[in-house]
C-alpha cells in the first residue's frame, strides 16, 4: 500500500445521509473479477438524475467526497470502497461511517474522516468554489479561508496509512510466530492436514 500523508483537491459536496452500499455500487456490479473499473458503476442511481453533483464539470477530478451521517451502511461488499477508489476519490468526509465501510476503506487506503456536522456543513460550502486539504500528520482538514478542523482516527490505522503498511505486510512480519504455530500443530496433531483425495 502507498503511504497516505495528505490529500488535497476539490471535494464533491454530496451531503446525503445514510448512503448505503447499494447506492455506492449496485449488486449487479458484484459480478466482476477486478477491483478496477467499478467507478463507472458508482452512484449509478444518483447519476441517472439530471444536474447531479457527480457529473457537474465543476467537480471533475475531485479527490474528496463530502457526505452525511452513516455513510456506507448496508452490506459488507468491499466493492463500495473499490468503486470510490476507482472514481478517483481518496478521502470521504462525513459525520459518521458504518463500521464495515470504515474497515473496508482502510483496507484499501481510502481515508474515512469523521468530522462534526457543523464542520461538514462549512466544508460543503467551501467545496462549491475552492479546494480542501487533509493532513494526516496533524490530523486536520483545512481550507484556503483559515478553517481548521481536527479529526480522530484509530492509532493503528493511522500509522498503517501514514507508513503505507498494509495488513498483509504487518502479518508477514510475524512469520516466525506463524511458522512456530504450524510446527506445533504438525507435531501435536499429525492428522491435521486434509488427506489427499
Amino acid at each position: 500500500m502507498k503511504p497516505v500523508r495528505s490529500v488535497e483537491g476539490r471535494a464533491i459536496p454530496f451531503g446525503q445521509k445514510n448512503v448505503d452500499t447499494d447506492v455506492i455500487i449496485a449488486a449487479e456490479w458484484l459480478k466482476t473479477i477486478s477491483r478496477d473499473g467499478l467507478g463507472k458503476g458508482a452512484f449509478e442511481s444518483v447519476r441517472a438524475k439530471e444536474g447531479n453533483v457527480f457529473d457537474d464539470p465543476e467537480y471533475a477530478g475531485a479527490s474528496i467526497l463530502i457526505a452525511g451521517d452513516n455513510f456506507g451502511c448496508g452490506s459488507s461488499r468491499e466493492h463500495a470502497a473499490w468503486a470510490l477508489d476507482d472514481m478517483g476519490i481518496k478521502a470521504i468526509i462525513a459525520p459518521s461511517f458504518s463500521d464495515i465501510f470504515s474497515s473496508n476503506a482502510f483496507k484499501n487506503g481510502l481515508l474515512a474522516i469523521p468530522l462534526p456536522q457543523e464542520a461538514v456543513d462549512r466544508l460543503m460550502e467551501v467545496a462549491k468554489t475552492d479546494p480542501i486539504s487533509i493532513d494526516m500528520e496533524s490530523m486536520s482538514v483545512t481550507t484556503p479561508f483559515q478553517d481548521r478542523f481536527t479529526f480522530e482516527m484509530d492509532p493503528f490505522r493511522h500509522q498503517c496509512l501514514m507508513d503505507g503498511l498494509d495488513e498483509i505486510d504487518l502479518t508477514m512480519s510475524k512469520s516466525d510466530a506463524i511458522e512456530a504455530h504450524e510446527a506445533r500443530v504438525d507435531s501435536a496433531h499429525a492428522w491435521h492436514k486434509p488427506a489427499i483425495a
Binding site: A27, L30, K31, T32, I33, S34, R35, S76, R77, E78, W82, I100, N104, K107, N108, F156, E167, I168, T171, M172, K174, S175, A177, I178, A180, H181, E182, V185, H189, A190, W191, H192, K193, P194, A195, I196, A197
Partner: protein, 476 residues
C-alpha cells in the same frame, strides 16, 4: 485446577499465533474454502504484490454461486458455454487462479462439485476443532461439526491466502439451550427459524453461539448443518455444536478426513472439545422445543416468522416503532395484508435447495411428501437443486429424482441456484416462492421476488397444495 472453558474458548485458544495488547489476536486458519464471486480480486491482489498462497494444501476451491444449474456438458461430454459473459468470466478466473496458485479445484462438471458449504463437510475437509473461513456469510454452517467457521470479506480472503491467518477480536459467547425434543413433522429448519424469531435478526450480534440440549445430540449432521448455517441470520458471527459420536460416524471414511492411526488420534482430541462444566457464557437463551411448529416467514427479515397455522401480523402489533415501520414495508413488498391466514397465501414457485437444505435428508423429506402426489396447477415453477454432485447421485440411486419429476419438479445440477439472484434461476418479480433457502431479503431471489422461507417438507407440501400448508396434514 484448570479453568473451565467453553468450546469456543478452547478452539480460539488453540489458534492464537500472536496476542496483541489491544485485545485482538492473530488467529491461525486451518481451512479455507474459495468460490468464484469473492475471490478474483483477492488473487489479483496477490499477483500484483508478487505473493504466493501460503498453504495451498489447506485451501479448496469450487464454483457454485454463478453456475447455471442446467446441464454443464452435452451428450458428447463437451462443455456447454455459459451465456452471461460476466458469470463466465468469474468462473474462468477461478478455474485459472486455482491451478496457478496450486490450490485443489473441483470443477463445474466434476461429480464432487457443489455448494461450498455442502462439499466441505461431505469431503471431510471440515473437521471438528478447526478454524474455517470462506468469503460467504453462511460459512457458519460448518460449526455443525464443531469447527469455528465464519464468513469473511475479499481483503480478508487475500489475507488468509497470503498468511493463513486473520487479525481478529474475540467474540462474546452465547448459549442457545433447547429443552425437550421436536414434535412429529417438525424439522431442524423449523427449529432454527423459530430460534431466530425468538432472539431476533440482530440477537446474536457480536457473539459466537453454541447450540446445546438433547435435541441437538439426537440430530443428524445434516440437521445440525441446517441449524448452524442460519446462525448468521440471527446476527451471530458463528454457530457451534460440540462434536460427538454422530459427528465421528459422519466423518469416518470421508475422502479428506484422517485415516488409520491419524483417525484415532483425531477422535481422541475431538472428544476433548466440549464446553466444560462450570464454563460461563456471556449470554444464555432457553427455548422450549414444544413451542416449535412448522414455521414459515411472512416478511423480508428472517426474524419475521410464524407457525404456518398463524395469521399475518398487523404492523401495529409490534411494540417498537421502527419495527412497525419495517413490518409495513414488508407487507407492502410481500403483497400481504394483516390478519390474512398464512394457509391462504398461494405460491407460484417452489425452490428446494441452497446450503441450508440441499443434503440427502432434505431431499428425502421432500420426496416423502411428494410421493404419489402432483404439484398444484397454480405452481408454475418447481425445482430441486441438490447441494452437490454426490448428493445428486445418492438421490438418484434412491429413486428420489423419479419422485420429484413425477410430481412436476425439475431436477437440476448442483449450485446456489435460486438462493440468490446471481445466476439464471430467479423468481419473477411480484411472484411468491416457497423456498428452503436462508434469506428472504428484498430482491434476494430476483428483483421484486417474494420469498417465504421454510423446511423441505413444508416446501413440498406448498407445491402440492399451491399455497402455504401445514405439512402435518399431508403426512399425518
Amino acid at each position: 485446577m484448570t479453568e473451565a472453558k467453553t468450546l469456543y474458548e478452547k478452539i480460539w485458544d488453540a489458534h492464537v499465533v500472536d496476542q496483541r495488547d489491544d485485545g485482538t489476536a492473530l488467529i491461525y486458519i486451518d481451512r479455507h474454502l474459495v468460490h468464484e464471486v469473492t475471490s478474483p480480486q483477492a488473487f489479483e491482489g496477490l499477483r500484483k504484490a508478487g505473493r504466493k498462497v501460503r498453504r495451498p494444501d489447506l485451501t479448496l476451491a469450487v464454483p457454485d454461486h454463478n453456475l447455471p444449474t442446467t446441464p454443464r456438458v452435452d451428450a458428447n461430454g463437451t462443455k456447454i458455454p455459459i451465456a452471461d459473459p460476466q458469470s463466465a468470466a468469474q468462473l474462468e478466473a477461478l478455474e485459472a487462479n486455482a491451478p496457478a496458485f496450486g490450490i485443489k479445484y473441483i470443477g463445474a462438471s466434476d461429480k464432487e462439485q457443489g455448494i461450498v458449504h455442502v462439499i466441505g463437510p461431505e469431503q471431510g475437509f471440515t473437521l471438528p476443532g478447526t478454524t474455517l473461513v470462506c468469503g460467504d456469510s453462511h460459512t457458519a454452517a460448518h460449526g455443525a461439526l464443531g469447527a469455528l467457521a465464519f464468513g469473511i470479506g475479499t481483503s480478508e480472503v487475500e489475507h488468509v491466502l497470503a498468511t493463513q491467518t486473520l487479525q481478529l477480536s474475540r467474540s462474546k459467547s452465547m448459549e442457545i439451550r433447547v429443552e425437550g425434543l421436536l414434535g412429529p413433522g417438525i424439522s431442524p429448519k423449523d427449529l432454527i427459524l423459530h430460534i431466530i424469531g425468538v432472539i431476533g435478526a440482530a440477537g446474536g450480534t457480536g457473539h459466537v453461539v453454541e447450540y446445546r440440549g438433547e435435541v441437538f445430540e439426537k440430530m443428524s449432521i445434516e440437521g445440525r448443518l441446517t441449524v448452524s448455517n442460519m446462525s448468521i441470520e440471527a446476527g451471530a458471527r458463528a454457530g457451534l455444536i460440540a462434536p460427538d459420536e454422530t459427528s465421528f460416524a459422519y466423518l469416518k471414511g470421508r475422502p479428506m478426513a484422517p485415516k488409520g492411526a491419524d483417525w484415532d488420534a483425531a477422535v481422541a482430541y475431538w472428544k476433548s472439545l466440549r464446553t466444560d462444566d462450570g464454563a460461563v457464557f456471556d449470554k444464555t437463551v432457553t427455548i422450549d422445543a414444544a413451542d416449535v411448529a412448522p414455521t414459515v416467514t411472512w416478511g423480508t427479515s428472517p426474524e419475521d416468522v410464524l407457525p404456518v397455522t398463524g395469521q399475518v401480523p398487523a404492523p401495529e402489533s409490534f411494540a417498537d416503532p421502527s419495527k412497525q415501520d419495517a413490518a409495513r414495508k414488508s407487507l407492502d413488498y410481500m403483497g400481504l395484508s394483516a390478519g390474512q391466514p398464512l394457509t391462504d397465501v398461494s405460491v407460484e414457485n417452489i425452490f428446494i435447495g441452497s446450503c441450508t437444505n440441499s443434503r440427502i435428508e432434505d431431499l428425502r423429506a421432500a420426496a416423502k411428501v411428494l410421493e404419489g402426489r402432483k404439484k398444484a396447477d397454480g405452481v408454475k415453477w418447481a425445482i430441486v437443486v441438490p447441494g452437490s454432485g454426490l448428493v445428486k447421485a445418492q438421490a438418484e440411486a434412491e429413486g428420489l429424482d423419479a419422485i420429484f419429476k413425477a410430481s412436476g419438479f425439475e431436477w437440476r445440477e448442483p449450485g446456489c441456484s435460486a438462493c440468490l439472484g446471481m445466476n439464471p434461476d430467479k423468481v419473477p418479480s411480484g411472484e411468491r416462492c416457497a423456498s428452503t433457502s436462508n434469506r428472504n431479503f428484498v430482491g434476494r431471489q430476483g428483483p421484486g421476488a417474494r420469498t417465504h422461507l421454510m423446511s423441505p417438507a413444508m416446501a413440498a407440501a406448498a407445491a402440492v397444495a399451491g399455497k402455504l400448508t401445514d405439512v402435518r396434514e399431508l403426512i399425518g
